[in-house]
Protein backbone atom coordinates (compact mmCIF):
# COMPACT_ATOMS: atom_id res chain seq x y z
CA UNK A 1 0.00 0.00 0.00
CA UNK A 2 2.84 2.41 0.80
CA UNK A 3 4.04 2.03 -2.81
CA UNK A 4 0.66 3.48 -3.80
CA UNK A 5 1.49 6.42 -1.58
CA UNK A 6 4.89 6.97 -3.19
CA UNK A 7 3.27 6.87 -6.61
CA UNK A 8 0.65 9.44 -5.57
CA UNK A 9 3.21 11.98 -4.41
CA UNK A 10 4.03 14.80 -6.80
CA UNK A 11 6.35 17.73 -6.20
CA UNK A 12 4.99 20.68 -8.19
CA UNK A 13 8.37 22.40 -7.77
CA UNK A 14 9.79 19.81 -10.19
CA UNK A 15 7.17 20.47 -12.86
CA UNK A 16 6.07 23.26 -15.10
CA UNK A 17 2.44 22.80 -14.29
CA UNK A 18 0.80 25.77 -12.55
CA UNK A 19 -2.81 24.65 -12.26
CA UNK A 20 -4.59 21.64 -10.80
CA UNK A 21 -8.28 20.83 -10.53
CA UNK A 22 -10.12 18.56 -8.16
CA UNK A 23 -13.41 17.99 -6.42
CA UNK A 24 -12.02 18.05 -2.87
CA UNK A 25 -8.82 19.80 -1.90
CA UNK A 26 -7.48 18.72 1.49
CA UNK A 27 -4.87 21.10 2.92
CA UNK A 28 -2.73 19.02 5.26
CA UNK A 29 -2.01 15.29 5.60
CA UNK A 30 -1.99 14.78 9.38
CA UNK A 31 -4.50 13.05 11.64
CA UNK A 32 -7.59 14.92 10.44
CA UNK A 33 -6.61 15.50 6.82
CA UNK A 34 -5.57 11.92 6.15
CA UNK A 35 -8.89 10.57 7.45
CA UNK A 36 -10.81 13.14 5.38
CA UNK A 37 -8.91 12.33 2.20
CA UNK A 38 -9.15 8.57 2.69
CA UNK A 39 -12.88 8.64 3.39
CA UNK A 40 -13.57 10.90 0.43
CA UNK A 41 -11.35 9.00 -2.00
CA UNK A 42 -12.85 5.69 -0.92
CA UNK A 43 -16.29 7.16 -1.61
CA UNK A 44 -15.16 7.79 -5.15
CA UNK A 45 -14.38 11.50 -4.85
CA UNK A 46 -11.56 13.19 -6.72
CA UNK A 47 -9.13 14.27 -3.99
CA UNK A 48 -5.92 16.28 -3.93
CA UNK A 49 -3.89 16.71 -0.76
CA UNK A 50 -1.76 19.82 -0.43
CA UNK A 51 1.21 19.37 1.90
CA UNK A 52 3.85 21.95 2.76
CA UNK A 53 6.38 19.39 3.96
CA UNK A 54 8.10 16.62 2.07
CA UNK A 55 7.36 12.92 1.83
CA UNK A 56 9.85 10.86 3.81
CA UNK A 57 9.34 7.12 3.44
CA UNK A 58 9.83 5.21 6.66
CA UNK A 59 12.87 3.52 5.15
CA UNK A 60 14.64 6.88 5.03
CA UNK A 61 14.32 7.47 8.79
CA UNK A 62 17.53 7.46 10.83
CA UNK A 63 18.06 7.51 14.60
CA UNK A 64 19.80 10.92 14.58
CA UNK A 65 17.48 13.33 16.37
CA UNK A 66 18.91 16.52 14.87
CA UNK A 67 18.79 15.16 11.34
CA UNK A 68 15.21 13.99 11.69
CA UNK A 69 14.07 17.13 13.49
CA UNK A 70 15.32 19.17 10.54
CA UNK A 71 13.43 16.90 8.14
CA UNK A 72 10.13 16.41 9.94
CA UNK A 73 9.54 19.55 12.02
CA UNK A 74 8.79 23.12 11.03
CA UNK A 75 11.76 25.44 11.67
CA UNK A 76 13.78 22.53 13.07
CA UNK A 77 11.39 22.32 15.97
CA UNK A 78 11.98 25.94 16.92
CA UNK A 79 8.67 27.80 17.26
CA UNK A 80 8.28 30.06 20.26
CA UNK A 81 4.93 30.95 21.77
CA UNK A 82 5.90 34.30 23.20
CA UNK A 83 4.90 35.05 26.76
CA UNK A 84 6.19 34.81 30.25
CA UNK A 85 7.57 32.19 30.20
CA UNK A 86 7.98 31.74 26.45
CA UNK A 87 6.87 28.23 25.44
CA UNK A 88 8.74 25.97 23.04
CA UNK A 89 6.29 24.61 20.49
CA UNK A 90 7.09 21.72 18.14
CA UNK A 91 5.03 21.35 14.97
CA UNK A 92 5.34 18.73 12.27
CA UNK A 93 5.91 19.72 8.65
CA UNK A 94 5.93 16.54 6.57
CA UNK A 95 3.58 14.11 4.88
CA UNK A 96 1.66 12.49 7.74
CA UNK A 97 1.98 15.58 9.94
CA UNK A 98 1.81 15.08 13.68
CA UNK A 99 1.11 11.35 13.37
CA UNK A 100 4.73 10.86 12.24
CA UNK A 101 6.27 12.59 15.26
CA UNK A 102 3.98 11.71 18.15
CA UNK A 103 3.88 8.77 20.51
CA UNK A 104 1.01 7.06 18.71
CA UNK A 105 -1.28 7.31 21.73
CA UNK A 106 -4.90 6.83 20.71
CA UNK A 107 -7.20 7.76 23.57
CA UNK A 108 -10.94 7.94 23.40
CA UNK A 109 -12.10 11.41 24.41
CA UNK A 110 -12.85 11.43 28.15
CA UNK A 111 -16.66 11.29 28.60
CA UNK A 112 -16.71 14.35 30.86
CA UNK A 113 -15.02 16.35 28.09
CA UNK A 114 -17.68 15.26 25.60
CA UNK A 115 -20.37 16.17 28.12
CA UNK A 116 -18.78 19.60 28.56
CA UNK A 117 -18.78 20.09 24.78
CA UNK A 118 -22.43 19.07 24.62
CA UNK A 119 -23.39 21.44 27.41
CA UNK A 120 -21.22 24.41 26.46
CA UNK A 121 -20.82 24.15 22.69
CA UNK A 122 -24.13 22.47 21.95
CA UNK A 123 -22.48 19.53 20.23
CA UNK A 124 -25.21 17.02 19.61
CA UNK A 125 -24.33 13.62 18.19
CA UNK A 126 -20.81 13.63 19.59
CA UNK A 127 -21.49 11.77 22.84
CA UNK A 128 -19.56 8.67 23.97
CA UNK A 129 -22.17 6.30 22.56
CA UNK A 130 -22.38 8.04 19.18
CA UNK A 131 -18.61 8.29 18.83
CA UNK A 132 -17.96 4.71 19.97
CA UNK A 133 -18.39 3.45 16.41
CA UNK A 134 -15.88 6.01 15.11
CA UNK A 135 -13.35 5.14 17.78
CA UNK A 136 -13.71 1.46 16.98
CA UNK A 137 -12.99 2.28 13.34
CA UNK A 138 -9.91 4.33 14.25
CA UNK A 139 -8.63 1.64 16.60
CA UNK A 140 -9.07 -1.03 13.95
CA UNK A 141 -7.53 1.08 11.17
CA UNK A 142 -4.49 1.96 13.28
CA UNK A 143 -4.03 -1.45 14.90
CA UNK A 144 -4.37 0.08 18.36
CA UNK A 145 -3.17 -2.21 21.12
CA UNK A 146 -2.83 -1.79 24.86
CA UNK A 147 0.83 -1.79 25.79
CA UNK A 148 2.17 -4.43 28.14
CA UNK A 149 4.89 -4.12 30.71
CA UNK A 150 7.99 -5.98 29.60
CA UNK A 151 10.66 -7.38 31.83
CA UNK A 152 13.60 -5.97 29.89
CA UNK A 153 12.27 -2.62 28.62
CA UNK A 154 10.38 0.47 29.74
CA UNK A 155 11.46 -0.01 33.32
CA UNK A 156 10.95 3.70 33.96
CA UNK A 157 7.27 3.26 33.17
CA UNK A 158 7.06 0.14 35.30
CA UNK A 159 8.57 2.01 38.25
CA UNK A 160 6.09 4.87 37.85
CA UNK A 161 3.19 2.43 37.55
CA UNK A 162 4.18 0.59 40.71
CA UNK A 163 4.73 3.82 42.65
CA UNK A 164 1.31 5.09 41.63
CA UNK A 165 -0.16 1.85 42.93
CA UNK A 166 1.60 2.35 46.27
CA UNK A 167 0.18 5.86 46.53
CA UNK A 168 -3.27 4.61 45.61
CA UNK A 169 -3.21 6.63 42.38
CA UNK A 170 -4.85 5.41 39.20
CA UNK A 171 -2.32 4.28 36.59
CA UNK A 172 -3.11 2.50 33.34
CA UNK A 173 -1.40 0.80 30.43
CA UNK A 174 -1.81 3.00 27.36
CA UNK A 175 -3.43 2.33 23.98
CA UNK A 176 -0.99 2.87 21.13
CA UNK A 177 -1.11 2.65 17.36
CA UNK A 178 1.80 0.27 16.92
CA UNK A 179 2.43 -3.00 15.18
CA UNK A 180 5.50 -4.82 16.39
CA UNK A 181 7.16 -2.06 18.41
CA UNK A 182 10.73 -3.12 19.20
CA UNK A 183 11.54 -0.30 21.62
CA UNK A 184 13.80 1.72 19.35
CA UNK A 185 12.92 4.85 21.35
CA UNK A 186 12.63 7.16 18.33
CA UNK A 187 8.90 8.01 18.38
CA UNK A 188 9.19 11.84 18.29
CA UNK A 189 11.54 11.85 15.32
CA UNK A 190 9.91 9.18 13.18
CA UNK A 191 9.69 5.48 14.02
CA UNK A 192 12.70 3.89 12.32
CA UNK A 193 11.20 0.44 12.75
CA UNK A 194 8.01 1.43 10.96
CA UNK A 195 6.06 0.05 13.90
CA UNK A 196 4.10 3.20 14.69
CA UNK A 197 0.98 3.29 12.56
CA UNK A 198 1.16 6.89 11.40
CA UNK A 199 -1.02 8.20 8.59
CA UNK A 200 1.86 7.42 6.22
CA UNK A 201 1.24 3.76 6.97
CA UNK A 202 -2.53 3.81 7.20
CA UNK A 203 -4.93 6.41 5.80
CA UNK A 204 -2.72 8.08 3.20
CA UNK A 205 -1.88 4.86 1.32
CA UNK A 206 -5.59 4.02 1.38
CA UNK A 207 -6.42 7.39 -0.14
CA UNK A 208 -3.65 7.01 -2.69
CA UNK A 209 -4.85 3.53 -3.67
CA UNK A 210 -8.19 5.10 -4.58
CA UNK A 211 -6.65 7.78 -6.75
CA UNK A 212 -5.92 10.66 -4.38
CA UNK A 213 -2.92 12.78 -5.36
CA UNK A 214 -0.53 14.38 -2.88
CA UNK A 215 1.22 17.62 -3.81
CA UNK A 216 4.23 18.08 -1.54
CA UNK A 217 6.52 21.04 -0.88
CA UNK A 218 3.49 23.16 -1.59
CA UNK A 219 2.48 25.85 0.91
CA UNK A 220 -1.08 27.19 0.80
CA UNK A 221 -0.91 30.97 1.08
CA UNK A 222 -4.39 32.16 0.16
CA UNK A 223 -7.91 30.91 -0.34
CA UNK A 224 -9.67 32.67 -3.18
CA UNK A 225 -13.35 33.06 -2.33
CA UNK A 226 -16.38 35.10 -3.15
CA UNK A 227 -19.81 35.22 -1.57
CA UNK A 228 -18.88 32.59 1.00
CA UNK A 229 -17.70 30.09 -1.61
CA UNK A 230 -14.06 29.13 -1.97
CA UNK A 231 -13.04 28.48 -5.56
CA UNK A 232 -9.30 27.83 -5.38
CA UNK A 233 -6.20 27.87 -3.23
CA UNK A 234 -3.04 29.70 -4.22
CA UNK A 235 0.08 27.90 -3.07
CA UNK A 236 3.81 28.55 -3.23
CA UNK A 237 6.39 26.01 -4.31
CA UNK A 238 10.17 26.20 -4.38
CA UNK A 239 12.51 28.49 -2.48
CA UNK A 240 14.28 31.77 -3.12
CA UNK A 241 14.62 32.61 -6.80
CA UNK A 242 12.82 29.42 -7.86
CA UNK A 243 9.76 30.25 -5.78
CA UNK A 244 6.58 30.38 -7.81
CA UNK A 245 2.86 30.01 -7.40
CA UNK A 246 0.46 27.27 -8.38
CA UNK A 247 -3.32 27.25 -8.21
CA UNK A 248 -5.53 24.39 -7.20
CA UNK A 249 -9.19 24.78 -8.15
CA UNK A 250 -11.69 22.81 -6.12
CA UNK A 251 -15.38 22.37 -5.53
CA UNK A 252 -14.93 21.85 -1.81
CA UNK A 253 -12.07 22.78 0.46
CA UNK A 254 -11.01 20.83 3.55
CA UNK A 255 -8.66 22.63 5.92
CA UNK A 256 -6.53 20.21 7.93
CA UNK A 257 -3.23 22.04 8.32
CA UNK A 258 -3.27 21.94 12.12
CA UNK A 259 -4.47 24.24 14.86
CA UNK A 260 -1.96 26.97 13.98
CA UNK A 261 -1.75 26.88 10.19
CA UNK A 262 -5.49 26.41 9.52
CA UNK A 263 -6.59 29.60 11.31
CA UNK A 264 -3.55 31.42 9.90
CA UNK A 265 -4.67 30.56 6.37
CA UNK A 266 -8.25 31.60 7.14
CA UNK A 267 -7.11 34.94 8.50
CA UNK A 268 -4.67 35.64 5.68
CA UNK A 269 -7.40 34.85 3.19
CA UNK A 270 -9.83 37.17 5.00
CA UNK A 271 -12.22 34.29 5.35
CA UNK A 272 -12.51 34.53 9.12
CA UNK A 273 -11.45 37.25 11.51
CA UNK A 274 -12.19 35.14 14.55
CA UNK A 275 -10.00 32.16 13.68
CA UNK A 276 -6.98 31.68 15.94
CA UNK A 277 -8.01 34.20 18.55
CA UNK A 278 -8.10 31.62 21.28
CA UNK A 279 -5.69 28.77 20.67
CA UNK A 280 -5.69 26.22 23.46
CA UNK A 281 -2.83 23.91 24.36
CA UNK A 282 -1.33 21.47 26.81
CA UNK A 283 1.84 22.18 28.74
CA UNK A 284 4.61 19.56 28.91
CA UNK A 285 6.55 19.85 32.15
CA UNK A 286 9.58 17.58 32.11
CA UNK A 287 11.62 16.27 35.00
CA UNK A 288 14.88 14.36 34.71
CA UNK A 289 15.35 11.86 37.52
CA UNK A 290 18.28 9.75 38.69
CA UNK A 291 17.30 6.49 40.36
CA UNK A 292 18.80 4.34 43.05
CA UNK A 293 19.84 1.65 40.55
CA UNK A 294 20.21 1.27 36.79
CA UNK A 295 16.90 1.33 34.92
CA UNK A 296 18.27 1.38 31.37
CA UNK A 297 15.29 3.53 30.44
CA UNK A 298 16.76 4.09 26.99
CA UNK A 299 15.55 0.58 26.19
CA UNK A 300 11.98 1.41 25.65
CA UNK A 301 9.52 3.59 23.94
CA UNK A 302 7.56 6.73 24.60
CA UNK A 303 4.67 6.34 27.08
CA UNK A 304 3.92 2.79 28.22
CA UNK A 305 1.84 3.65 31.27
CA UNK A 306 0.05 6.81 32.31
CA UNK A 307 -0.89 8.02 35.78
CA UNK A 308 -4.43 9.36 35.53
CA UNK A 309 -5.33 10.02 39.15
CA UNK A 310 -5.68 13.74 38.45
CA UNK A 311 -7.00 13.53 34.91
CA UNK A 312 -10.21 15.37 35.77
CA UNK A 313 -8.08 18.24 37.05
CA UNK A 314 -6.27 18.28 33.70
CA UNK A 315 -3.10 16.47 34.72
CA UNK A 316 -1.65 13.16 33.55
CA UNK A 317 1.88 11.88 34.13
CA UNK A 318 4.12 9.41 32.30
CA UNK A 319 7.65 8.33 31.56
CA UNK A 320 8.97 9.81 28.32
CA UNK A 321 11.65 8.98 25.75
CA UNK A 322 15.19 8.82 26.96
CA UNK A 323 18.10 9.51 24.66
CA UNK A 324 21.08 11.81 25.27
CA UNK A 325 19.53 14.46 23.02
CA UNK A 326 16.29 14.63 24.98
CA UNK A 327 18.11 14.53 28.25
CA UNK A 328 20.36 17.41 27.20
CA UNK A 329 17.40 19.39 25.86
CA UNK A 330 15.42 18.91 29.06
CA UNK A 331 18.48 20.01 31.02
CA UNK A 332 19.38 22.84 28.63
CA UNK A 333 18.63 25.40 31.35
CA UNK A 334 21.31 23.76 33.49
CA UNK A 335 25.08 24.18 33.05
CA UNK A 336 27.00 21.66 30.96
CA UNK A 337 28.50 20.18 34.12
CA UNK A 338 25.02 18.99 35.10
CA UNK A 339 24.41 17.48 31.66
CA UNK A 340 27.76 15.69 31.92
CA UNK A 341 26.96 14.46 35.39
CA UNK A 342 23.55 13.06 34.41
CA UNK A 343 24.90 11.54 31.20
CA UNK A 344 27.64 9.96 33.27
CA UNK A 345 24.85 8.21 35.19
CA UNK A 346 22.80 7.53 32.10
CA UNK A 347 21.78 4.01 33.06
CA UNK A 348 20.20 5.41 36.24
CA UNK A 349 18.45 8.29 34.46
CA UNK A 350 14.88 8.72 33.29
CA UNK A 351 12.83 11.46 31.66
CA UNK A 352 9.28 12.08 32.87
CA UNK A 353 6.51 14.39 31.83
CA UNK A 354 3.49 15.99 33.41
CA UNK A 355 0.94 16.91 30.75
CA UNK A 356 -1.17 19.82 31.91
CA UNK A 357 -4.41 21.08 30.40
CA UNK A 358 -3.60 24.79 30.36
CA UNK A 359 -6.20 27.46 31.07
CA UNK A 360 -4.03 30.01 29.25
CA UNK A 361 -4.99 30.91 25.69
CA UNK A 362 -2.65 31.85 22.86
CA UNK A 363 -3.35 34.14 19.94
CA UNK A 364 -2.24 33.77 16.34
CA UNK A 365 -1.07 36.93 14.56
CA UNK A 366 -1.18 36.63 10.79
CA UNK A 367 -0.24 40.07 9.54
CA UNK A 368 3.51 39.59 9.69
CA UNK A 369 3.95 37.43 6.61
CA UNK A 370 4.12 33.78 5.67
CA UNK A 371 4.46 32.43 9.19
CA UNK A 372 2.13 33.21 12.06
CA UNK A 373 3.39 34.71 15.29
CA UNK A 374 2.09 33.10 18.47
CA UNK A 375 1.80 34.74 21.85
CA UNK A 376 -0.04 34.11 25.09
CA UNK A 377 -0.51 35.36 28.61
CA UNK A 378 -0.14 32.88 31.47
CA UNK A 379 -3.56 32.47 33.09
CA UNK A 380 -3.64 33.15 36.80
CA UNK A 381 -4.61 29.58 37.64
CA UNK A 382 -1.90 28.01 35.48
CA UNK A 383 1.03 29.09 37.65
CA UNK A 384 -0.49 27.28 40.63
CA UNK A 385 -1.43 24.30 38.45
CA UNK A 386 2.17 24.01 37.22
CA UNK A 387 3.50 23.99 40.77
CA UNK A 388 0.91 21.40 41.75
CA UNK A 389 1.77 19.22 38.75
CA UNK A 390 5.49 19.32 39.50
CA UNK A 391 4.90 18.58 43.15
CA UNK A 392 2.81 15.53 42.28
CA UNK A 393 5.21 14.23 39.68
CA UNK A 394 8.12 14.81 42.07
CA UNK A 395 6.34 12.97 44.86
CA UNK A 396 5.59 10.07 42.53
CA UNK A 397 9.21 9.89 41.38
CA UNK A 398 10.60 9.86 44.89
CA UNK A 399 8.18 7.03 45.67
CA UNK A 400 9.40 5.25 42.52
CA UNK A 401 12.96 5.29 43.82
CA UNK A 402 14.36 8.50 42.38
CA UNK A 403 17.15 9.97 44.44
CA UNK A 404 17.75 13.19 42.50
CA UNK A 405 15.38 15.33 40.44
CA UNK A 406 16.05 18.15 37.97
CA UNK A 407 12.98 20.30 37.61
CA UNK A 408 12.01 22.50 34.65
CA UNK A 409 12.80 25.66 36.56
CA UNK A 410 15.64 27.77 35.14
CA UNK A 411 18.69 27.86 37.37
CA UNK A 412 17.26 25.45 39.93
CA UNK A 413 19.52 23.02 41.77
CA UNK A 414 18.93 19.26 41.95
CA UNK A 415 16.45 18.27 44.64
CA UNK A 416 16.98 15.14 46.69
CA UNK A 417 14.01 15.04 49.04
CA UNK A 418 10.37 16.03 49.29
CA UNK A 419 11.11 19.04 51.57
CA UNK A 420 13.70 20.29 49.06
CA UNK A 421 11.17 19.88 46.26
CA UNK A 422 8.49 21.74 48.20
CA UNK A 423 10.92 24.54 49.05
CA UNK A 424 12.04 24.97 45.46
CA UNK A 425 8.50 25.06 44.14
CA UNK A 426 7.36 27.50 46.81
CA UNK A 427 10.07 29.93 45.70
CA UNK A 428 9.75 29.38 41.93
CA UNK A 429 8.60 32.34 39.86
CA UNK A 430 6.35 31.54 36.88
CA UNK A 431 8.70 33.27 34.44
CA UNK A 432 11.40 30.72 35.29
CA UNK A 433 9.43 27.63 34.26
CA UNK A 434 10.73 25.76 31.19
CA UNK A 435 7.65 24.59 29.30
CA UNK A 436 7.15 22.84 26.00
CA UNK A 437 4.00 22.11 24.07
CA UNK A 438 3.21 19.76 21.21
CA UNK A 439 -0.57 19.70 21.54
CA UNK A 440 -2.38 22.77 20.22
CA UNK A 441 -6.08 22.80 19.40
CA UNK A 442 -9.45 24.57 19.49
CA UNK A 443 -8.42 27.56 17.37
CA UNK A 444 -11.56 27.23 15.17
CA UNK A 445 -13.91 25.60 17.67
CA UNK A 446 -16.92 23.58 16.65
CA UNK A 447 -20.32 24.44 18.09
CA UNK A 448 -23.99 24.83 17.35
CA UNK A 449 -24.06 28.61 17.77
CA UNK A 450 -22.47 30.53 14.87
CA UNK A 451 -21.87 33.49 17.16
CA UNK A 452 -19.74 31.47 19.57
CA UNK A 453 -18.11 28.93 17.27
CA UNK A 454 -16.41 28.86 13.87
CA UNK A 455 -17.31 25.42 12.66
CA UNK A 456 -20.71 23.73 12.59
CA UNK A 457 -21.23 20.24 14.02
CA UNK A 458 -21.06 19.08 10.40
CA UNK A 459 -17.49 20.36 10.23
CA UNK A 460 -18.35 23.23 7.90
CA UNK A 461 -16.99 26.71 8.45
CA UNK A 462 -19.97 28.88 9.40
CA UNK A 463 -18.62 31.70 7.24
CA UNK A 464 -18.34 29.71 4.01
CA UNK A 465 -20.57 27.22 2.25
CA UNK A 466 -17.97 24.81 0.88
CA UNK A 467 -15.10 25.04 3.38
CA UNK A 468 -14.65 22.34 6.04
CA UNK A 469 -12.26 22.05 8.95
CA UNK A 470 -10.95 18.58 9.80
CA UNK A 471 -8.09 18.91 12.26
CA UNK A 472 -7.34 19.83 15.89
CA UNK A 473 -8.61 23.36 15.24
CA UNK A 474 -12.21 22.18 15.35
CA UNK A 475 -12.12 20.69 18.84
CA UNK A 476 -14.16 22.88 21.17
CA UNK A 477 -11.43 22.94 23.84
CA UNK A 478 -8.25 21.23 24.93
CA UNK A 479 -8.90 17.75 26.29
CA UNK A 480 -6.08 16.91 28.67
CA UNK A 481 -4.93 13.91 26.62
CA UNK A 482 -3.11 13.26 23.37
CA UNK A 483 -5.70 14.42 20.84
CA UNK A 484 -5.01 12.18 17.83
CA UNK A 485 -7.80 9.70 18.63
CA UNK A 486 -10.32 12.48 19.15
CA UNK A 487 -9.30 14.29 15.95
CA UNK A 488 -9.61 11.11 13.90
CA UNK A 489 -12.94 10.07 15.43
CA UNK A 490 -14.35 13.55 14.84
CA UNK A 491 -13.07 13.48 11.27
CA UNK A 492 -14.78 10.13 10.65
CA UNK A 493 -18.01 11.52 12.07
CA UNK A 494 -17.83 14.67 9.93
CA UNK A 495 -17.18 12.75 6.71
CA UNK A 496 -19.80 10.12 7.54
CA UNK A 497 -22.35 12.91 7.83
CA UNK A 498 -21.09 14.67 4.74
CA UNK A 499 -21.12 11.58 2.56
CA UNK A 500 -24.60 10.72 3.77
CA UNK A 501 -25.84 14.22 2.88
CA UNK A 502 -23.97 14.55 -0.39
CA UNK A 503 -24.03 11.19 -2.13
CA UNK A 504 -22.23 11.15 -5.43
Amino acid sequence: MTSALAAAVERPADRERVRYDCEYLVVGTGAGGSVAGARLAEAGRDVIFLEEGAYHPTGSFVPEVGTMTARLYRNRGVIPILGRPTLAFGEACCVGGGTVINGGLIWRTPPWVLEQWRAQAGLVGYGPEQLARQFETVERDLHVVTTQLEADANRDSARLHAAAGELGWKSVLVPRAVKGCINENCCPTGCIAGAKQSSVQTYLPRAAARGARILTGCRAVRIVHSGGVASRVVAEVGDGPTRRRVEIRCERLVLAAGAVQTPHLLRRSRLSKRAGRSLQFHMNLKIVALFDEPLDAARGTIFTTQVQEFEREGLVMAASNLRPHYLALTLAHQPNATIDRVLGDFRRAGGFVALLQAASRARIESRLGDQPLLHYRLARGDAAAIVRALERLGRLLFRAGAVELYLPVAGSPAVRSQPELDGLLAAARPGRFEIQTVHVMASCPMGSDPARSLVSPAGRLWEARNVFVSDASMLPSNIGESPQGTIMAFAHEIWDRHLAEAPQ
Binding site: P63, E64, V65, G66, T67, T69, A70, N75, R76, G77, V78, P80, T86, A88, I182, N183, E184, N185, C186, I192, D296, A298, R299, G300, N321, L322, R323, P324, H325, A328, L329, A332, H333, N336, A337, I339, D340, L343, G344, F346, R347, L368, G369, D370, Q371, L373
Partner: protein, 124 residues
Amino acid sequence: MLWRSTLSGLALAHIETLDSFATAASREAVRAEVVAYVIGAVEGLPPYYRVPVAGFAAWIGLLCLVTRGRSLADLAPATRQRQVALLRRLPFFALLEKLVRSSALIRYFDLVPGPAGASGTRPR
Protein backbone atom coordinates in the same frame (compact mmCIF):
# COMPACT_ATOMS: atom_id res chain seq x y z
CA MET B 1 28.97 38.03 8.15
CA LEU B 2 29.28 39.18 11.70
CA TRP B 3 25.99 37.70 12.91
CA ARG B 4 26.92 34.26 11.61
CA SER B 5 30.29 34.48 13.25
CA THR B 6 28.69 35.42 16.56
CA LEU B 7 26.22 32.54 16.37
CA SER B 8 29.12 30.21 15.56
CA GLY B 9 30.98 31.42 18.61
CA LEU B 10 27.94 31.05 20.79
CA ALA B 11 27.28 27.53 19.49
CA LEU B 12 30.89 26.58 20.22
CA ALA B 13 30.62 28.01 23.73
CA HIS B 14 27.83 25.55 24.40
CA ILE B 15 29.56 22.41 23.25
CA GLU B 16 33.24 22.90 24.00
CA THR B 17 32.80 22.53 27.76
CA LEU B 18 31.00 19.19 27.48
CA ASP B 19 33.20 16.32 28.69
CA SER B 20 32.60 14.28 25.56
CA PHE B 21 33.83 17.10 23.31
CA ALA B 22 37.32 16.91 24.76
CA THR B 23 37.59 13.27 23.71
CA ALA B 24 35.62 13.47 20.47
CA ALA B 25 37.48 11.91 17.57
CA SER B 26 36.88 14.62 15.01
CA ARG B 27 36.29 17.84 16.86
CA GLU B 28 36.62 20.05 13.81
CA ALA B 29 33.93 18.14 11.98
CA VAL B 30 31.67 18.26 15.04
CA ARG B 31 32.22 21.99 15.36
CA ALA B 32 31.41 22.59 11.71
CA GLU B 33 28.27 20.44 11.79
CA VAL B 34 26.93 22.00 14.98
CA VAL B 35 27.59 25.54 13.74
CA ALA B 36 25.91 24.80 10.40
CA TYR B 37 22.88 23.36 12.19
CA VAL B 38 22.50 26.36 14.49
CA ILE B 39 22.84 28.85 11.64
CA GLY B 40 20.37 26.81 9.59
CA ALA B 41 17.89 26.99 12.48
CA VAL B 42 18.16 30.77 12.61
CA GLU B 43 17.98 31.13 8.83
CA GLY B 44 14.80 29.04 8.86
CA LEU B 45 13.05 31.38 11.27
CA PRO B 46 10.33 33.68 9.95
CA PRO B 47 11.68 37.15 9.11
CA TYR B 48 10.13 38.80 12.16
CA TYR B 49 12.35 36.57 14.32
CA ARG B 50 15.31 36.15 11.99
CA VAL B 51 15.98 39.83 11.44
CA PRO B 52 16.05 40.82 15.13
CA VAL B 53 18.04 37.71 16.03
CA ALA B 54 20.62 38.39 13.31
CA GLY B 55 20.72 42.08 14.24
CA PHE B 56 21.22 41.33 17.91
CA ALA B 57 23.92 38.78 17.08
CA ALA B 58 25.68 41.31 14.86
CA TRP B 59 25.58 43.89 17.64
CA ILE B 60 27.02 41.37 20.10
CA GLY B 61 29.70 40.55 17.54
CA LEU B 62 30.59 44.21 17.24
CA LEU B 63 30.77 44.50 21.01
CA CYS B 64 33.11 41.55 21.07
CA LEU B 65 35.34 43.02 18.36
CA VAL B 66 35.58 46.29 20.22
CA THR B 67 36.25 44.80 23.65
CA ARG B 68 38.30 41.73 22.70
CA GLY B 69 39.67 42.60 19.29
CA ARG B 70 38.25 39.38 17.79
CA SER B 71 34.92 37.88 16.94
CA LEU B 72 33.32 35.48 19.40
CA ALA B 73 34.12 32.54 17.14
CA ASP B 74 37.82 33.45 16.98
CA LEU B 75 38.38 33.77 20.71
CA ALA B 76 40.22 31.13 22.67
CA PRO B 77 37.74 28.78 24.41
CA ALA B 78 38.40 30.09 27.90
CA THR B 79 38.09 33.73 26.77
CA ARG B 80 34.93 32.85 24.88
CA GLN B 81 33.40 31.39 28.03
CA ARG B 82 34.25 34.57 29.97
CA GLN B 83 32.81 36.72 27.21
CA VAL B 84 29.57 34.72 27.12
CA ALA B 85 29.30 35.00 30.91
CA LEU B 86 29.50 38.79 30.50
CA LEU B 87 26.96 38.77 27.69
CA ARG B 88 24.45 37.03 29.96
CA ARG B 89 23.92 40.39 31.64
CA LEU B 90 22.38 41.79 28.46
CA PRO B 91 18.61 41.92 28.15
CA PHE B 92 17.22 39.42 25.60
CA PHE B 93 20.49 37.48 25.55
CA ALA B 94 18.79 34.62 27.41
CA LEU B 95 16.34 34.13 24.52
CA LEU B 96 19.12 34.07 21.94
CA GLU B 97 21.16 31.72 24.06
CA LYS B 98 18.24 29.35 24.54
CA LEU B 99 17.67 29.15 20.80
CA VAL B 100 21.34 28.51 20.04
CA ARG B 101 21.89 26.12 22.93
CA SER B 102 18.93 23.85 22.17
CA SER B 103 19.86 23.59 18.49
CA ALA B 104 23.54 23.04 19.29
CA LEU B 105 22.86 20.29 21.82
CA ILE B 106 20.40 18.41 19.65
CA ARG B 107 22.88 18.23 16.77
CA TYR B 108 25.90 17.64 18.99
CA PHE B 109 24.50 14.38 20.37
CA ASP B 110 23.88 13.15 16.83
CA LEU B 111 27.59 13.42 16.23
CA VAL B 112 29.26 12.48 19.49
CA PRO B 113 28.56 9.02 20.86
CA GLY B 114 26.78 9.18 24.17
CA PRO B 115 27.45 6.93 27.11
CA ALA B 116 27.25 3.17 26.62
CA GLY B 117 23.70 2.07 25.94
CA ALA B 118 22.60 5.65 25.47
CA SER B 119 21.29 5.52 21.95
CA GLY B 120 18.32 3.44 22.90
CA THR B 121 18.53 1.72 19.56
CA ARG B 122 19.37 -1.91 19.25
CA PRO B 123 21.99 -3.19 16.84
CA ARG B 124 20.51 -4.00 13.46
